[in-house]
Symmetry: C2
Subunit: 280 residues, 2 copies
């Protein structure tokens, strides 16, 4: 089982989807079971801007920056993630002969959890308490639905949001959704694709790629990491620690992106004591 997370950056659009689709068509034809999770942040931001809803960013006491998601913003998220991006990706996979089925976390309660409706922190330097936020955390997965679809020969294509109490959609992190799925499904691979060649020591220099992180000695990688990269490295270490065979951060803009990641191109995070592999 392979969990493939396709990031929602602006550089990963229709052309990249076609490359993923071609690659996944050959992999699934070889019998590989795959679950795809995708983001949609670039489309979400573009739609929000076009609708006159600029992002409201709130910084928590611990320094974490989150986007305030009121109901109108959540509707825009549903439109971008579940509407445009999910169905465009499903269409690309169908065109390549992969019988993809696109689902959000709400569908079949595939990913459900707890909503945190009150957002506290500072906005533009001023303390704020914002209500009606639609953020939340995943607490349960419906693996039965995934297994039903996989058993029927379908490739599930999943996207946030998740299902909160009272049927309310909650904004959950797509990377976290992919990670929880990979752990729950006992995946032997979890591949994170974004618009960089992998984890970079210097975010402005694609040549500063970290080739490998040994879960037994991650200190060097974490020391060199910064910002969003720290979160990703910690998540990858967590996944490997919870039984996922291998985590790779790879380039979503490349030709044959999945094959390349499986061949070890990108940043490979492997469990302690497991020899590095160069072939799938």
């Amino acid at each position: 089982m392979l969990v493939v997370k396709i990031g929602g950056g602006a550089a990963i659009g229709a052309e990249a989807f076609a490359r993923f689709a071609a690659d996944l068509a050959t992999l699934t034809a070889e019998g590989q079971q795959v679950v795809v999770v995708h983001g949609g942040n670039a489309e979400f931001s573009a739609l929000s801007a076009a609708l006159g809803m600029p992002p409201r960013m709130v910084t928590s006491a611990s320094g974490r920056v989150t986007r305030y998601t009121d109901r109108a913003t959540m509707d825009a998220m549903l439109m971008a993630y579940c509407g445009k991006v999910n169905k465009t990706l499903v269409g690309a996979l169908q065109a390549a002969g992969v019988n993809a089925v696109g689902l959000s976390g709400l569908d079949g309660a595939l990913a459900s959890g707890r909503r945190k409706a009150v957002l506290r922190g500072t906005e533009d330097g001023k303390p704020k308490v914002l209500r009606d936020d639609h953020a939340g955390t995943i607490e349960r997965l419906n693996l039965d639905l995934l297994r039903l679809l996989l058993g029927g020969g379908y490739l599930p294509v999943l996207t946030p949001p998740a299902l909160g109490e009272g049927g309310v959609p909650i904004n959950v992190d797509g990377d976290k959704l992919a990670l929880e799925l990979a752990v729950a499904l006992g995946a032997d691979g979890l591949l994170f694709f974004s618009d960089t060649p992998g984890l970079l020591r210097d975010i402005t220099d694609e040549g500063s790629l970290v080739r490998e992180i040994d879960a037994a000695a991650p200190e060097a990688a974490l020391a060199a990491a910064s910002g969003r990269m720290v979160v990703k490295v910690e998540a990858a270490l967590g996944a490997v620690g919870r039984g996922v065979g291998r985590v790779v951060f790879a380039d979503g803009r490349a030709e044959r992106p999945v094959r390349r990641a499986l061949d070890g191109e990108g940043t490979v995070v492997r469990a302690a004591g497991v020899a590095a592999e160069t072939a799938p």
Copy 2:
């Protein structure tokens, strides 16, 4: 098997969805299998207007008026139908304890067909040939996916668009999708809900409800019908002629909308020689 089509008019929003959800929760708990199909026209129009894409209406030689759907308009359709409306309805059903799964025609190639990319006719009185249209007609249904989900205890919630050649989404009529599904599934009931009490002789007078149409003698109903109603009556007659037990046009704004329609409130179209029923 019951196929329930929920229209996409502005009067059928979150509150109506909650009423449908409560009603469907009790029906499915009694063992009734249900497939829901929904529209989204009001949300689609509102989104298009907000994005600065007013509808371009083209009148064919035969007098049929259609909306020109270029790629940007199709993206707005995906966002409104598959994003906001589909997931809001799924959320309402989940809140009522119904394990709904929302899907478009693209997902699992649930409804696929032929794209007609060239639209000919007149726009604002001028002859036009518009290319890159995303209209089409349904040619195939994937009933296996529906049966897989129904067998697993899920309630499928379906929406246009359908899947065209090359993975391209095609705009198909939601009523037609519901009708084809009802015929293919051998449904004993097909219920069309919109923001009127049923088919009206005079569209401005809710008191002019047509209570019953006998498929053996539809002339009177067709003679009194006009515009969009003719199309609906013909579709209902076609469905009954192709084996659907009963078609009801009913009020989507009512309390207990599904129960009321099953009790015969609205316009009931029944097959020749079948006695009128007043209970499900």
